[in-house]
Symmetry: C2
Subunit: 334 residues, 2 copies
């Protein structure tokens, strides 16, 4: 590949698409030409990249001529519809949707977790689900050191996980609630302002949601541990754009909170925020806008008699590390 | 005791105190006379009980002459200061604070869980912490049937748990956030509007918070299971007054989701809300104002190979069942 790349962003006007463009700029990615693609509705509008206005083009099957890297964040259906056109044009698709994540011939990659899997791509690399990325950035270094056996996760997921419309609905509904107006859920199934919804994505086997099972299956694939035991409860909370997760972990080997801190102190993509004496712990307001995953509230699991259990609380920017940043980091590995 | 009772409410102007008065009225508790007590600052103000204005009196050591039952919700320090005066006056103190919960000579009671413990009271009965009450109402019937071995809880606790000031701060901060004003945390340690705080009450042994360890020790005391394994992560979320909890449970005996539903269908204080086909599951907006604890998202724990694990999600009104209603139910048992 050349030292500079022709990059396309499909879904350029979405919450993640906009952040992808800003991340390319912020990280000074070697972009030769940037092509912004979206639906016909957005075509003709302009977005700024490095001080230059770029006109958004309508996404079409012939949009990828000369493109080296195509960042997709326009939903699974769009990714499936255009993947052949992207690959046939000789570009690599880095796909933020769930379309190909579990395909055996598509690597699913978090650069801090399994960068080596990029090598066997056949033109498509998948970006994992946001909660899985955030969890694995924090947990993988512990797994490498002490071998993770079982993980129980409860999530606190921001409105941004449902895209720009989700964030807008949280804001507009909150205004309605403060004004004692009748609330009108449109995008979310139920009221999200001053409430929560323990249901994200569709229900699948065992009455788990697809969102919950992504955590199970994507983690197993990326860690190459088909036997890893994971359960998750995914909950939407009235927060704008950083996801939090309460994790209870069991390891094969003994592990102490001091060891967790030592391991995570220099782990890539991790920022330890675990100074309870000064009331410092991960919070969405601090994670927002940060590329790092914040880790804190590290405790030896008091529900076990041995030293194999750890509780901790983590936060990560869902749009950045949970989506756009991870996709651009994959592009950098290429 | 007489068929009608002289009742005092100490902390009458707080969020829980006001709900205690309304709960006495709503449940038609046999009140002969109602005495409302608060700090000097509130003395002279009036509150309505069954259509009659009652003047709030200043809480003093001689406030309990002739009182049969004194409901306290004015903080642990006030409870400790006045307990002797209450008991010496011949009244029974039902205390919502943490002051006496772990005292060996004070029963800690949830009427649906351990009503028999009321019998050995020596003038003081403690109301458990809100998250413990809500959890035990849902879990005790399962424990009686299949013997609970280990429980991992992650909580989503409403602002009301910090009293009326907490609720007011959530509202005022949310207004500030929507108007792009500078946020001013006063009552909570950090911003709560559109964010969360994984820290409730002070930090204690093992870097767990007091709030988290209450779940451990209060549950063991009420279930008379000193060996019960519990870990908890307590998180304040931007929700007004219903607490939610994500529970992962391990039982000694096999248990299936169908059995959980069968056991909980007729359990006192429990309302099954577990109809995912119709997007029905526990949510704070539905739990608010309800005496029952809502239980749903019941699943066989996918992280286990056996049938001893259950995941579920529960919600309960923190001020009602989590505090005022439970206290009045204790009074009814008397």
């Amino acid at each position: 590949m050349p030292r500079e790349f022709n990059v396309a962003v499909a879904g350029a006007t979405g919450a993640v698409g906009i952040e992808m463009i800003q991340t390319l700029e912020r990280r000074n990615f070697p972009v030769k030409n940037l092509r912004l693609l979206a639906s016909a509705r957005s075509a003709g509008k302009k977005l700024t990249y490095k001080g230059t206005d770029i006109t958004i083009e309508e996404l079409k099957h012939d949009s990828f001529k000369g493109i080296d890297i195509a960042l997709f964040s326009a939903g699974a259906d769009i990714s499936k519809e255009y993947v052949k056109s992207v690959v046939d044009a000789g570009a690599v698709m880095i796909d933020n949707s769930s379309a190909f994540r579990m395909n055996d011939d598509v690597p699913l990659v978090v650069p801090e977790v399994n960068p080596e899997d990029i090598k066997w791509n056949k033109g498509v690399i998948a970006n994992p689900n946001c909660t899985t990325i955030i969890m694995l950035v924090a947990v993988t270094p512990l797994h490498r050191a002490k071998k993770l056996k079982r993980l129980i996760a409860s999530t606190y997921q921001a409105a941004s996980g449902a895209g720009a419309e989700g964030m807008e609905e949280l804001l507009s509904q909150t205004r309605q609630a403060l004004n004692n107006e009748v609330l009108t859920p449109k995008f979310f199934a139920h009221q999200i302002a001053f409430s929560l919804i323990p249901h994200i994505d569709v229900f699948l086997e065992g009455d788990y949601t697809k969102e919950e099972l992504k955590m199970v299956y994507e983690s197993r694939k990326m860690l190459h541990c088909p036997e890893l035991k994971i359960s998750c409860t995914s909950v939407r909370v009235p927060i704008m754009r950083a996801h939090s997760e309460s994790l209870n972990m069991e390891f094969v080997e003994d592990i102490t909170p001091a060891e967790v801190r030592e391991i995570l102190k220099n782990a890539p993509g991790v920022k330890l925020v675990d100074d309870i004496a000064n009331k410092r712990y991960p919070m969405p307001i601090e994670a927002t806008g940060q590329g790092d995953v914040l880790v804190g509230r590290i405790r030896q699991d008091v529900s076990r008699d041995d030293r194999k259990g750890i509780d901790m609380f983590i936060c990560g920017d869902q749009i950045l590390k949970g989506a756009a940043l991870n996709a651009v980091q994959i592009a950098e590995l290429l």
